[in-house]
């Protein structure tokens, strides 16, 4: 399915299209003696949208944080867009520029205005001229429906607005993949929808997305695959319909019964 979609992408050569954009092979990670991720295998095709859920402490955030090496893994391979993540800092920076990340607590830069938050990456990492970066930034701000706040500081915005800015900040880097680490968990209930709407728009436009979230409505409407993690392992994965209607694993059933 991912391959069929990738064919439409004219920028891609045919050899690129069979290659997964993210490939994780036999990956393990420990915190000290604690085995936080055990034998993770995951292939993500371009334009795929994956939602990862699971109880807290199951390693789902750690997993996506390994993909841009905010955490380092100790065994196995992680290959992002053809680049294997090792301790080589140049490779890591290359991967990070291609992979956008949205955090639970937004992590906007409080000393910079919204527009400066957005142009920072393009100007310093992509070496884009400032004017061009600002034009692009305004376009993305409009896309997340917040252009009128461009000159404000993050502290003047609500949580939902800040998270939309954070999404726009990642988009400004023109990423091949977007990672979302519980993007709505720190938000007041009335602000969750505005952020999910932006994410749904993104999914419709064909962004490759890995989302750690408990928003099951979101998973049902946009995910290609839903994964359930527990104890550092991917216990179950399926398309959203089968995943929610017909969970296989006992622990998945228990988890779903608790959150639905």
């Amino acid at each position: 399915m991912g391959i069929a979609m990738a064919d439409k992408n004219i920028q891609k050569t045919s050899s690129d299209s069979d290659r997964p954009i993210i490939e994780i092979i036999g990956m393990h990670k420990w915190y000290g003696d604690f085995h936080v991720l055990a034998d993770i295998n995951l292939r993500v095709q371009e334009k795929e949208r994956i939602v990862i859920c699971g109880p807290s402490g199951s390693g789902k955030s750690t997993l996506i944080r390994c993909i841009n090496r905010l955490e380092e893994h100790q065994r196995g391979q992680i290959i992002v867009d053809g680049i294997e993540l090792t301790s080589d800092i140049k490779n890591i920076e290359k991967v990070r520029a291609e992979v956008g990340m949205v955090f639970q607590h937004f992590n906007l830069f409080p000393h910079l205005t919204i527009i400066e938050n957005l142009t920072l990456g393009p100007v310093w990492v992509r070496k884009m001229p400032k004017k061009e970066a600002e034009e692009a930034a305004m376009m993305y701000l409009e896309k997340v429906r917040i252009a009128e706040q461009a000159k404000k500081y993050p502290g003047q915005l609500s949580g939902g607005q800040q998270q939309r800015v954070a999404i726009a900040r990642s988009l400004c880097m023109n990423p091949r993949v977007m990672l979302f680490d519980e993007p709505t968990s720190a938000l007041d209930p009335e602000m969750i929808k505005e952020v999910l709407d932006v994410m749904i728009d993104l999914a419709r436009e064909g962004m490759t997305m890995l989302v750690v979230s408990h928003e099951m409505g979101f998973a049902k409407s946009v995910a290609d695959r839903v994964m359930f993690m527990d104890d550092g392992q991917i216990l179950e994965e399926n398309n959203p319909n089968d995943f929610f209607d017909n969970p296989q694993h006992e622990r998945t059933k228990l988890f779903l019964s608790q959150i639905l």
Binding site: E93, H105, N107, F109, P110, H111, L120, G121, W124, V125
Partner: protein, 363 residues
Amino acid sequence: MTQQASTTTREHLKPPVTHVGVLGWIRKNLFNSWFNSLLTVLVLYGLLVTIPPLFKWAFVDSLWYSSPQACREIDGACWSIIPKNARFIFFGFYPEDQQWRPLTAMILLFALVFYTQNRRSWNRALFPIWTFGLVVMGWLMHGGLGLPVVETAKWSGLPLTLTLSLFGMVGAYPLGVLLALGRRSKLPVIHSMSVIYIELIRGVPLISLLFMSSIMFPLFLPEGVTIDKVLRAQVAIILFTAAYIAEVVRGGLQAIPKGQYEAADSLGLNYPQAMRLIVLPQALKIVIPPSVGILISAFKDTSLVVIIALYDVLKTTKVTLSNPLWMGFSSEAYLALALLYFIFCYAMSRYSRKLEKALHTGH
């Protein structure tokens, strides 16, 4: 409904007159208990006893520009010691016919500082402007290119104090920031070298560093090589102040949430970029108050250079007092000197508060 009812029936009452305005303030702050009332009365009595005579001494019976003989006739303060000896106090052993040079250099320095304090002038032009200004100041002080050369050994008084302080601060701050980053480095060599440096320097008094720079250090130099004494003192002051700055800045770095580092990393910024654009601007803003505290104490500590026979403004004042003509007017001289130091320190302190407010984006 009920809300409306309560607002319509509510009278517009003013607070009692004893609780607002001047009367209210006096009551609340000075006479709110029998003990505080007693203290207030005692303090008022103390002020009454001390202030009028002090005022009489300083302003009524005082002389401002007279001969020392005239001063000895009166009971009041002899402020004349300052204007009459101003040239020596401010410029020390700098040749008298050349003293317009340090004066011009100082005026230029104040002009530059005044220009820089405005945040609107913080742009690309600032660095070349300062570089040019410092070259001109250096030329004025040292001479050459048409001006007679004045050795640094003759630099003294206020220009020496200001030189040591200015370069002390400007040199120590970046070094302190580097040390703070070094102490937080994951690379063991850089980390331990920073720790050793900071702890060693903080473990000794400035005086001992100055002694080492003036007495021990030359022993290690090959014969015939000498390094300027003022420069050695300057380096000692920079190295000393940097260690304190480093610890303050480290505190600021620790206050930056991990999420900021992660956000910077995940944009693909490299380490120098992340530090310069994201972490340091926030960390340094947090540590403005303690940094300025250190800079102020560094400014005052420059007076310790007397022990290696450099004549800063404190020492030139002391020398003036040892002149038999002016002996005995030390209260006046030291009060005036204290005022001079206070003006500089208070200006720094005020500016730091202004800067803090201007950089506040928290809302």
